[in-house]
């Protein structure tokens, strides 16, 4: 909560905030790597074989998640202590959604063919604020 308030204050009146030395929150921005997150929901792109009188969904194809989220590398302000500094928002970054599904089986004369999992840009679903560390001014 402290970090939240400080961040909000920094956004609104950074200079006045920094000038009030006793209110310096003594924290800094922290790096976070960009990452992908696959949904647990999805399908495997695979063939179906009928054997022994049963329909056997013989797997082995790649897992094709319904959605992949692309989180950007960014710095957040997560209450990491650092004397004499605060962090402020520099820009807003996008969290992009990819929508994925198995494509059609490719034509082939021989060999095992497998549909590929293809993903397309589904748009921007959310956002993260990118922060930087700034020095608090002495009162």
């Amino acid at each position: 909560m402290k970090a939240h308030i400080a961040t909000a204050l920094a956004l609104v009146c950074a200079s006045e905030f920094a000038a009030a030395g006793e209110l310096c929150p003594d924290m800094r921005a922290v790096n976070h790597h960009g990452r992908l997150q696959q949904s647990a929901a999805g399908t495997r792109c695979q063939r179906v074989l009928r054997l022994f009188g049963l329909t056997i969904n013989l797997g082995g194809g790649e897992f094709c998640p319904a959605t992949i989220l692309v989180y950007p590398a960014h710095r957040d302000c997560a209450s990491v202590p650092n004397s004499g500094t605060d962090c402020e928002v520099t820009q807003t970054l996008t969290i992009t959604r990819l929508s994925c599904r198995c494509g059609p089986l490719p034509n082939a004369d021989f060999g095992i063919v497998e549909a590929e999992c293809g993903c397309t840009d589904a748009g921007i679903g959310g956002y993260v604020d990118d922060h930087q560390t700034i020095e608090c001014l002495d009162a």
């Binding site: 939240h4 976070h32 990452r35 997150q37 949904s39 647990a40 929901a41 495997r44 695979q46 074989l49 009928r50 054997l51 022994f52 049963l54 329909t55 056997i56 969904n57 013989l58 797997g59 082995g60 194809g61 790649e62 897992f63 959605t67 989220l69 989180y71 820009q91 807003t92 996008t94 969290i95 959604r97 082939a108 021989f110 060999g111 095992i112 063919v113 497998e114 840009d121 589904a122 748009g123 921007i124 679903g125 959310g126 956002y127 993260v128």
Partner: protein
Amino acid sequence: MRKLAVAGLVCLLGACALVRLVRNDSRPAATPDGIRTAGSTPYAELLAANQPSSRTVDRAGASGSEGLDAQHAVALEPGLIEMLEAVARAEGRGNDRELEELLTALVGRIDRLRGILDLLESGAIAENHLARRGGVATLVSAAARWSRGGGPPGLDGPAFVTEMLQRLPRQSADDRALLIAFLSGSEVANSAVIGANQLEVVLALCQDFPEDAALYAQLLAGLPADPAALEPHRATLLAALEGDGPPALTGAVLRALLALDPSAATDAAKDLLRSRPDDPALRGVVAEALAGSAQPERAVDALLEMKDPTQLMAFDALGSRPEARAVVRERYNALLAANLDGRGRRVLVAAMGHEETPVLLGIATTDPSLDVRQQAFLTATVTRDVGLEGVQALRDAYARRADPRNGLGAFGAVASASNVLIHASGPARDEALRFLGDIARDPGAALPYRRMALQKMRPHVPPGSIADLTGLDPDTGDQAGK
């Protein structure tokens, strides 16, 4: 994993020479002695079970990897390798009749199945990709055939599947990955081949071979949400959740526990989040599992407690549950009425992907928090065609951008308008393009978002129509229009 699977498939195309799979050097350090073998047959017995008159293949020098002593040789049934090659060829040709004949002959004899396991483990056919592929296909077919009961003479089917799983660590890394990929995706009559009856074995593999736990966890992808099937494994599941396993394992275990005991599972999930607060991948799978499987009220509570409005996968899972939508709506209204917890409201709005467009546009116009309004526009535009009305709402909100009570900044406007380009067509899409052009040319907007507007519209407009914006490109170092 994808590469391994694809490599295995490509081999069948007769292009094995083009794909040199990683040799057995990458086997795990654990020895067969380290494997939990309760209920399985010791390896020496497995060797003895093979026909003594058959020709043998000395594994020494075949793979150069650790595992069996060089003095052990795989007793091999004459013609077995050729049969496996024939399986691969039949599968590759899509000749189901021939494949069925071959597999029927192979999976109906325990000595053959164990011979295939021995052969793969020995490394003796490490360079014979056709035989390896045929071996994997045969073993997976046997698992599909026998996992739910029955078995050839002398073999308890489910016990053989257990044995196959327990012997996975002895396989080369490639064969192990391929077997797991096949087993984890295999179903018979809409029921996963690896189900609750193999749960203990898979969890033991994850525990004993933590370096491959993420791989073994894939085997749990088909766990049923059937409390009766899961009940005997309650203690094991809870214990697995307390460990520091990979996110994929945690997610699978948590989903099973949520089906078995939602209350205990939710509490355990919260404990997990508290104990590993700086693990974003873990937070993601836990949030998604809770959102998708916990009781709606508990799921909403847990997501609000996380206070992380970027858990979009979880919000999707929550919003996709019809029974959860009313809970999300009620919580939002309650927080809004009290003007509380803007971050929580943003979380809830992110889970409103199934709400009607007017509801989301209403929130985007009226919520007192800019973050919430921005999320409402994004949630609406990323999930549907909001039409001309939606684009006009964006324009109106951007026109009020100086007003913190109901305006929308350049970022939210550009991001939402770019979503319209993807999900809308006709006049709404054209209007979104014009809107992006206006923001790109707006000298009052921050440069990163003007550039973002240009980047989003560039693929959809003639170059000449944006010639005046060339200076916005980062590599020019110029700030056109500034």
